[in-house]
Amino acid sequence: MTMLDTADLKGSADRVMARKRLVSFGLPALVLAYLIYVFFAFGVPELIQKASSANARALVADTYSHKVHVTRDNRSGDVRVAIEGENKGAYPDGEAPDWVALGDETVIDLGGGHIITYLPENNGVTYDVPGYGLMTFEVSRSQGVIQSYPTEELPDWISASKNRVAVTTDAGRLSVTRNRTEVFRYFVGWELFFFTLDSPYHGLGLGEVVSRAFSGEAGAMAHDFWNNAMWRHGDVAWAIFETILMAFLGTMGAAILALPLAFLAARNFAPLVAVRMATRRLFDFIRGVDALIWTIILSRAFGLGPLTGALAILITDTGTFGKLFSEALENVDKKQIEGLQSTGAKPLQRYRFGVIPQITPVLISQILYFLESNTRSATVIGAITGGGIGLLLTQAIITQKDWEEVSYYIMLIIVMVVFMDWLSGLLRRKLIKGDDSGH
């Protein structure tokens, strides 16, 4: 009898264990199978081949360095020195940094013994690479780039064809085409971050800048910094402000709209089932339509800009807040309301003193959490509606050359989000005392 029972028990235990084993091996196997499917469905193998390592290198290099272009127009013979090759970073005519000697013959010292010389006749260029020798190029209208090298076999850092030569060394890069000859020299750091070349404060040491600031030039200095054409600090500050503004207006507006609606959706406050159901379906609908579709519809009506972004956040979050607030309202304690009622409080007073104090901690904690997360959403929505730092970021990425600006914006966005995270945590702790969990 007992023998039979134990055998039965063992049998059922074995079955349970077998099922558990199946689950513990089957679930990871399913996940793995799905990931393998996605791997091929997304075309990862082709993607790896297509991936541009040159783009990645340019991006990484640009984040911590900048380059100075020394360009000769091979038609007119003019030589121009410009930071990042941009007009706003160009040196005035006849001026150059000390490693470029302008003249009939322009001599460019890339450092480490690398000397490039622009010769006056035939648009010639010579490049003396230590340990390799002297290369000579001439540009001719009919024959393209005429090239002579010290060795028969070309090393792999020279890429040459009939009309184009590119020489990339550790010291810099030389490219010669029919139209122009160009030298890039790389420097560590972000150039012109504080003052552009046309500002009198460019190139001054920190000590002198500080002493001049104290002798009454602080205003002019702030003006030059704020209107820096290369980094546009003024515009960037505005953009960050706009992004935070979108998040603030959207979150707070949504909370203000959602609170009265939440009463209509809460089981213990809405007298009519029909009203309750209608409000709930409204919340579901608003949340289902999603921020993306709201953004598109709103930008059709209001045009591009931060107001559109704020309204998109406002509408989407009204749905979410409505749902969360009505859940909070359904959890309130009835006793406090009854207590107020017994003192003869009118309905509005009952809500104000019996209900609101109970849900305030939940309300504040949700609002602050959404304020932080909406700062991130506002960055994305800004990229679509054309406002804030999201727009600047997408613009900088689309040009595909201002990577130092891209990395600058990315850093600012991260600092902004971390700051909002910190601020909302701080406010939560200050406003909701005694609630350790903060949620």
């Binding site: 799905y34 990931l35 996605v38 469905a41 997304f42 990862v44 993607l47 297509k50 991936a51 541009s52 783009n55 990645a56 991006l59 706009e242 503004l245 603030f248 207006l249 707070m252 507006g253 579901d284 949340r287 289902g288 339509v289 999603d290 921020a291 993306l292 579709i293 598109i296 519809i297 709103l298 059709r300 009506a301 209001f302 045009g303 591009l304 800009g305 931060p306 107001l307 704020a310 859940e327 959890n331 939940v362 991130r376 960055t379 994305v380 990229a383 679509i384 054309g386 999201g390 970021l393 997408t394 990425i397 595909q400 891209v406 990315i410 966005i413 991260i414 989000v417 971390v418 995270d421």
Partner: protein
């Protein structure tokens, strides 16, 4: 007795004091409310000033686009099934991006959260390091990673997937480690006493306790990620968002396609929301109060 009369006099004093305090408090909250209202009004007017169209100019047109869309689409209802078939692969891609990102992000979050919970961490010295990694992953907006990866890898679903997965790892890691902190450490100690390795202790001692809550959070994240994946598609990462961008840029005459995509996106989000909230209720034993 003398004490009672003194008490009555005191009571009057206390009453006055209480009233002044209340008045002060009321004034204080009134000032705060005024500041808040002023901030909102000023904020809306600044935002409105920098907008292409004004609020009052646009509010009348609010329903123009949706109604145009509906009118034109309702004339071409017969073409809708064909559109649904056309855009179904894009829909699958959007859902796949979200699902794969949630899976990868959740896997990373499991390790990050176990490594950053006191009592469970493999390297207790490194707990702050793993916490900062999670904070950082949470702070980076998805669009930043997506746009940079699109530049390096080219357009397509993978940049969006990686971007969402990174953010998911940070967000879920924080929630998972909160769950872990509530787990009972006795099974872990018991397993340690019989010589279990760290992996065995976690897999056999912690995971069975926390798996339902982990799964519930991961499902909630999946809902969020479907939306994120649609938005990132709009910025160039493929899927339904990308098709939507093309469809609306064709403008009038092709509104039926845009309407079909709107509808698909709406239905997808609603279905996923409902399904996931059903299972989440199930996982937390139908107790709504737990989520607060």
């Amino acid at each position: 007795m003398a004490e009672t009369t003194a008490g009555a006099r005191d009571l009057g004093g206390i009453h006055d004091e209480y009233m002044t305090l209340t008045r002060q408090k009321r004034l204080y909250s009134l000032v705060l409310l005024m500041i808040f209202i002023a901030l909102m009004v000023a904020g809306f007017s600044v935002a409105g000033g920098r907008n292409a169209g004004s609020f009052w100019g646009g509010i009348d047109n609010f329903f123009d686009y949706p109604s145009e869309l509906v009118i034109e689409a309702s004339g071409k209802l017969a073409e809708f099934p064909a559109h649904f078939v056309t855009f179904f692969p894009a829909l699958i891609e959007t859902v796949n991006i979200a699902a794969a990102a949630t899976l990868l992000g959740a896997l990373a979050a499991i390790f990050l959260s176990l490594l950053s919970t006191r009592g469970m961490a493999r390297f207790p010295m490194l707990i702050p390091v793993f916490r900062r990694i999670m904070d950082f992953a949470r702070a980076i907006p998805e669009i930043v990673v997506a746009l940079v990866l699109i530049f390096i890898l080219g357009g397509g679903p993978v940049p969006a997937m990686i971007a969402i997965a990174i953010h998911t790892a940070g967000a879920l890691g924080k929630l998972f480690s909160e769950v872990n902190e509530n787990a009972d450490l006795k099974p872990v100690d018991g397993l340690a006493s019989v010589g279990a390795t760290w992996g065995q202790r976690m897999f056999l001692g912690v995971v069975p306790q926390v798996a339902p809550n982990w799964l519930s959070y991961a499902l909630l994240r999946f809902e969020i990620n479907v939306r994120a994946s649609a938005i990132l598609g709009f910025v160039g990462a493929g899927g339904l968002g990308y098709e939507l961008k093309n469809a609306i840029s064709w403008g009038q005459g092709r509104y039926d396609e845009a309407a079909a995509i709107f509808l698909l996106l709406f239905l997808t989000i609603v279905v996923i929301d409902q399904t996931s909230s059903h299972y989440r209720d199930h996982l937390t034993h139908g107790s709504k109060s737990e989520r607060r």
